[in-house]
């Protein structure tokens, strides 16, 4: 039992990623750090982002110079946000022009505030696994 626990802890430690804060470059501006976790998809070269909320319908995409292995992070920057809002962020992972995973999560955004959510890319056909927040994501490394 002890041995199994130790092995589990070691596996957890070895699997840890050092989380980057992609919003660190945007002080004083509303920014949402989206940490994209792998599930079905493990590698993407582009993320299509859709942000929806009361009076908010935004889409954008982030394309890296080359494919990256998940987990990865992306900053959503809202320089003209003038009021706090509850939004749903839908992320679609693309590799070689083909959608390889999708997922969504709920977040709060507010002027000049930084926040973070985690989105797991599941099957692109069913919008992935909705993230209910950090409580369901598991231990943070």
């Amino acid at each position: 039992m002890t041995r199994a626990a130790a092995a589990g802890l070691l596996a957890l430690l070895l699997g840890c990623e050092r989380p980057a804060d992609p919003c660190a470059k945007y002080p004083g501006v509303a920014c949402l750090a989206v940490h994209v976790r792998p599930s079905v998809a493990t590698e993407v070269d582009r993320l299509i982002i859709a942000v929806a909320g009361p009076g908010i319908e935004l889409t954008g995409d982030s394309a890296g110079a080359k494919a990256v292995l998940l987990p990865a992070a992306v900053a959503l920057v809202f320089p003209r946000l003038d009021a706090a809002a509850e939004v749903t962020v839908r992320v679609t992972g693309v590799l070689g022009g083909r959608a390889v995973g999708a997922g969504e999560g709920a977040a709060s955004i507010a002027p000049a505030r930084h926040d973070r959510i985690e989105v797991t890319l599941g099957d692109p056909g069913d919008a992935g696994v909705p993230d209910a927040g950090a409580d369901l994501v598991g231990p943070t490394c």
Partner: protein, 210 residues
């Protein structure tokens, strides 16, 4: 007059040439500048003459300590040359030796000290190549038990004694402690590396919603 200016500035090589030309081209023998030009030219000529000689000392084997004028240490130091104390080791070269008689002393551990007289002339190089004579090995009185163990063909007086087995100090506990400490440090390092040195999560370009 350019030659006089150069002489005043210490540029004697140029000054001598310029003053020679000036004196040759001067038609009037009673020109009042002639005495000054001659004095300046002669002073510069004297300055251009070599004031030192070069001493090169080599020895076999090399690495011997070289002393110049070991018995008159202060005289040559005052004139700017090395004297008295150790001046260097062989192969040795000194390009600023005052002209005149000097004594060169060589010392090397295991070899007989050596001293030679040299005459150094300004602008010339004196070269000494001195073989050093090895000193005889120190003799050790042979204890009776050692004489039996002396291998044949070895010179008498030099004794090879079997080494006495030294009592090994009990330091096992110390090594054990060091080992445990090192293992602990390695384990701590690995744990810290895992905890804080993991792969950084790659960041994709930010999405800015205007």
């Amino acid at each position: 007059m350019l030659g006089l200016t150069d002489a005043h500035l210490g540029r004697c090589a140029d000054a001598v040439q310029e003053l020679e030309t000036f004196l040759k081209l001067l038609k009037a023998q009673d020109d009042p500048r002639i005495p000054e030009a001659i004095v300046a030219r002669d002073r510069c000529r004297a300055e251009l003459l070599p004031r030192f000689g070069t001493l090169v000392v080599e020895s076999t084997p090399t690495g011997a300590e070289v002393r110049l004028d070991p018995e008159a240490p202060l005289r040559d130091r005052a004139s700017g040359t090395k004297g008295g104390g150790p001046a260097g080791v062989t192969p040795f070269r000194d390009e600023k030796v005052t002209p005149g008689e000097h004594r060169v002393a060589l010392r090397q551990v295991g070899f007989a000290p050596l001293e030679r007289a040299v005459t150094v002339r300004a602008g010339e190089t004196v070269r000494l190549d001195l073989p050093l004579t090895p000193l005889p090995s120190p003799t050790v009185e042979t204890p009776p038990e050692a004489s039996q163990a002396q291998p044949e063909g070895k010179p008498p007086g030099l004794v090879l004694l079997p080494a006495a087995p030294a009592a090994a100090p009990r330091r096992t506990w110390l090594w054990a402690l060091i080992g445990v400490g090192a293992a602990g440090a390695v384990a701590a390092g690995i744990t810290l590396a895992i905890l804080f040195g993991g792969r950084a999560e790659p960041a994709l370009p930010a999405v800015v919603f205007p």
